[in-house]
Each structure stands twice: as C-alpha cells, then as structure tokens.
C-alpha cells in the first residue's frame, strides 16, 4: 500500500555505487571531448574565428564575469525583460483561457483567431513590435509576452473544458455552487496542465527577449552576442551563449521546482511527505478530535 519500507543498508550503498559509476562515465566523456577539442585548437587545427577552443572561451567567460564584469548588466537586463514579459504573457493567456472556458460565445468567436495566432511564428512580428514599442525595454517585454502567451492559453483552455461528467455529477448531487465547482474541482484539476504550459512559456519568453535584442537594443545578452559576432570575437559569442544557457537552465529549474511542489499529487515520491505533513497539521489544529 504505502512505500514506507526502509531498504536494507547494503542495497542503498549499491545504489550509490551505481550512481557514482554512471556519473564518473559522464565526467570522463565530457573531459575527453573538451580535451580533444583543446588539443586540436592548441595544435592549430582550428580557426579561432570559426571554432575557438575551450581555453579561449574560458578566458572570455572569466573576463565577462570577473575582470570587466560587463556581463551582469546585460544578464540582468535580459532576465528582467524576459521575466516581466513572461508574467504579462501568462496573465493574459490564462485570463483569456478562463473567460473562453466560461463563455461559449467567446470560445466560438475568439478562439479561432487564437489558432491562427498560434500557427503564425510570433518571432516574425519582431520588426512591427520594435516599430510600435521602440528600442527600449518595452519592445523586448512585448515580444516575450507575445511569444509566451500561447502555451498557457491553450493548456488552460483545454484543461478547463475537459468534461469530467462524474465529477460534475458528484458536485451537483452535493449541491455545490458553480463557484465551488470551479475552485474545488475544475481549477485544481487543470493545474498540472497549466504548469506544463508555464514551462513552455518560460522558454518562449527568453527566446522572444533575445530575438528582440538582436533586432535593436542597447543592453541584454542578445546584443552582447551580436557585438562579439560582428567583431568576429567568436570566443566571446560562445561565452555569451553559455551564459544564456545558464540563464535558461536557472529559469527552467525554478519552474521544475514549482511543478514539483505544486503538482505534488502526480508524484508518488512527494505524496508520502505531504501526507505526513497534513497529518501533523491536523493533529496540531484538531488534536481534540478522537482518532
């Protein structure tokens, strides 16, 4: 029933050994690739304007982060633009989806445009966005919002309009109000799909911001990347690219943690601890009730 059983210690040890062995393999593979790449570079086999080698890229990274330190300004600019765009985009996306879910008229007359909207690459409107919003922050935020609006919209709408006949019968038979039906069944039921939509949106927000920066910007990792590339400082471009990866990874990790904590009921590994917490809370709040 429950998986409270403690494993014998030696199996735990065996598992650690196995995990260690597999991570050693990864490290060795990684070191081999980097090492080979570096050796080829040092021996003059690579053109540093096309494929700079690891030590050059590393030097650029060190410069960006610790010597000149110019990365921070660009990093935070992009991060802020993407984050603000993300929140605007998902707010609009989720609210529109909720309205659509509750209004058949809205769904019939507005939703088709959303489909056309979705098949049009959002990035394609970048020049128009720049024309409307100018060269500053606002155009980056607008593009980020536009690109990340769609996944939460579609996911929220799909999840909310999914019919759960038994659930609806149950709530109606218990005399539930529409409000209770929404907040206690429909909405929690939709959360896993909404969170999945948010994860997609976050990647979109970063993409939208960087593309808008390419077109015109005075700050941001996108423009930094472009400046390096125009000067044929490809090692600098690589260093910027790695920074973008780090930013993406950071945002993605935040979403993963959110998903893990919010949608706990889909994860067997979380259920045990949440169930213990709920039991402890009950005992604290309602200890007077005989069990």
């Amino acid at each position: 029933m429950t998986t409270t059983s403690l494993e014998p210690e030696n199996t735990v040890n065996k598992r650690y050994v196995k995990a260690l062995r597999s991570s050693v393999k990864h490290i060795v593979t990684f070191a081999l690739i980097i090492g080979l790449w570096e050796i080829l570079g040092q021996n003059g086999q690579l053109n540093k304007y096309i494929l700079p080698w690891p030590s050059l890229i590393w030097a650029q990274l060190v410069d960006l982060f610790f010597i000149s330190g110019i990365i921070y300004y660009h990093f935070y600019t992009t991060l802020a633009e993407a984050t603000i765009g993300f929140f605007i985009g998902i707010t609009i996306g989720i609210s529109l989806a909720v309205s659509a879910a509750f209004s058949p008229v809205f769904r019939r007359y507005i939703a088709p445009y959303a489909v056309i909207f979705s098949v049009t690459p959002g990035i394609a409107v970048t020049p128009m966005i720049i024309a409307w919003f100018g060269f500053g922050w606002s155009s980056k935020i607008a593009l980020a919002a536009l690109v990340c609006f769609f996944p939460p919209f579609v996911n929220t709408l799909t999840a909310l309009t999914r019919t759960d006949e038994d659930g609806s019968d149950l709530f109606r038979s218990m005399g539930a109000s529409k409000r209770d039906y929404f907040w206690k069944l429909q909405f929690p039921n939709a959360i896993p799909m909404i969170v999945a939509g948010l994860k997609l949106a976050l990647t979109g927000a970063l993409l939208g911001t960087i593309v808008a920066e390419f077109v015109s910007a005075t700050a941001g990792v996108g423009i930094l990347m472009q400046r390096f590339a125009f000067k044929l400082q490809i090692d600098g471009s690589f260093a910027t690219l790695l920074t973008m990866s780090a930013m993406g990874l950071m945002l993605f990790t935040i979403m993963e943690i959110l998903d893990y904590r919010v949608v706990f009921w889909k994860r067997d590994s979380r259920l045990l601890s949440v169930s213990r917490k709920r039991a402890a809370k009950w005992r604290r709040d309602h200890g007077n009730i005989p069990m």
């Binding site: 029933m1 429950t2 038994d166 659930g167 019968d169 149950l170 709530f171 109606r172 038979s173 218990m174 005399g175 539930a176 109000s177 209770d180 206690k184 069944l185 929690p188 706990f264 009921w265 889909k266 067997d268 259920l271 045990l272 949440v274 169930s275 213990r276 709920r278 039991a279 009950w282 309602h286 007077n288 009730i289 005989p290 069990m291």
Partner: protein
C-alpha cells in the same frame, strides 16, 4: 446514520394510511434524448423508506438514466418522479450518490475528501471532522485518514467514496454500480459492508448493477429492466431475512429467484 434512525422512529409513529413511508414514487417516467433514443420509457414504481432496491439489467437499459432522474441531475421528458411527495427538479440534500469511479480529489487526503460535502454546505465544524473520522473508521480505513487517493488501492478509494457519501447525511442513497470496477473478492466484501451499514436504518438505497446474484443478495426488491427502449420490466420481491450471509446464494430459494430474473431478462442477456 443516527439521523436516519431517528427518522425511522418517526416514520413508524405516523399513521400508515397516509402513505407517508413512500420515499420515491415514479409514474410513467420517460426520458428521451432524441426521438430515436429513448433511454427510459414509462417507468412506474414506489419505494418505501428503509428499503434496499436493486436495479438490474444489461447495459443500455436505462438504469443509470433512471438513477440520474431520481437524483435530479437530468430532466425528464414526461411522466413524474417524486421524492417525499415533491417533484424532483434539481439535486436534493437528502439524496447522496456514488459512482463506479470513486471520483476523489487527488490533491486531498482521505479525510479531506470525506469532508467535502460538509465544506460545500457551510463552514467545517469540529463535529463534521469527528463524523468524517468516524465514517472512515466505519468503512474500515482507520490509519488511512491522511493518505492520498493515489496511495490507496481501488477498493480503498471506493471506501473513501462511501465514507464521503455517509458524510453527506443523505438518507436516500443512489448507487451507480459502485463496486463494479473492483475485483470480485473486494466487491463481495464491500457489498456486505454496505449492507451492514444501511441495514436496520431508515436509509433507502437504490443500487444499480448488472450482476444478477449481487442484485438479489443485497435487495428487498429487484427492479428488472430491459433495453431498447429502456423499460422497467418487472419488480421481483426478495423475501429473505436479514442479516444475510453469503451462503444464502447457494440455497434453492435464491436460485429460484435468480432464474426468475434471468427469464425476465430472457433474450437480452
């Protein structure tokens, strides 16, 4: 359940001539989804307080439709269906339902699920909480109060749903194949537990199943339904004393009723 017991006492003290112990009454009750699809045609029956009625028939014979009409979840096309002498037009608080699927909220622990009906009708009180705990104990889920549905087996999930049904305080239970998705052993055990819970109380139960033996074993009366269009073919009395044990199913009297029901269903089964 104590509420129901009190009501049973009152019902006995009332003069029987007023027909006051009829809880559910249907007259020529018909439901058609379209001209071609007649789910239920002209069903007429009376159910007395405290009775356990089984509704048996092959799939598509309108059992669930009948149940949902009584529950006030769907509108009838013609005829009438009354609960406690009032025409049913919407869900009532004295009616509780249970489905083939447990329909639990996955993000709530067992006791939080059981508390749902209390929560929907007002603020949860300590009395609600202790009733919920008692209901869980009654259905055999002591020590599982804080488990989430995913941590429970199918049978245990259905037990939570049963506890939630008890928590509603309803004294008319509409059960739509509640244990139909479970394995035979679990189903048999839960049937007996359900019977023990409602036996001797004023709780009126309407139990839908497509298992003939189960229908007879549990019920005071079996309503036999036939499909295309869904019709109430006959009501068969089940005269056996309560409490009943599983051995009852092996007696010739039981088999006689079983073959009677089978004959009514005839070519449909």
């Amino acid at each position: 359940m104590s509420d129901s017991l009190q009501e049973a006492g009152e019902a006995v003290s009332k003069p029987s001539a007023t027909n006051s112990d009829v809880v559910i009454e249907a007259n020529a009750l018909t439901k058609a989804f379209s001209e071609e699809v007649v789910a239920l045609q002209g069903a007429s029956f009376k159910i007395n307080e405290g009775d356990f009625i089984s509704l048996v028939g092959p799939s598509g014979c309108g059992k669930s439709t009948l149940l949902r009409l009584v529950a006030g979840l769907i509108e009838k096309t013609s005829g009438s269906v009354k609960v406690r002498e009032n025409e049913v037009t919407e869900p009532r608080t004295d009616i509780g339902m249970m489905f083939q699927k447990p329909v639990l909220l996955e993000w709530r622990t067992a006791v939080e699920n059981v508390l749902l009906p209390s929560e929907l009708t007002g603020k949860i009180t300590d009395e609600d909480r202790s009733r919920a705990i008692q209901a869980l104990h009654l259905v055999g889920l002591k020590d599982f109060e804080f488990h989430f549905p995913r941590q429970l087996s199918g049978g245990m999930q259905q037990r939570v749903a049963l506890a939630r049904l008890l928590q509603t305080g309803a004294d008319i239970l509409l059960l739509d194949e509640p244990f139909g998705a479970l394995d035979e052993f679990t189903r048999e055990r839960l049937n007996i537990e359900l019977m023990n819970i409602v036996d001797g109380t004023a709780t009126t139960s309407l139990f839908v199943t497509h298992n003939i033996a189960e229908a007879i074993f549990l019920a005071d009366e079996v309503m036999v339904m036939t499909p295309r269009p869904g019709k109430l073919a006959r009501i068969v009395e089940v005269p056996f004393e309560r409490p009943r044990s599983l051995e009852l199913q092996l007696t010739p009297e039981f088999n006689k009723i079983e073959s009677e029901v089978r004959n009514i269903l005839g070519s449909y089964v």
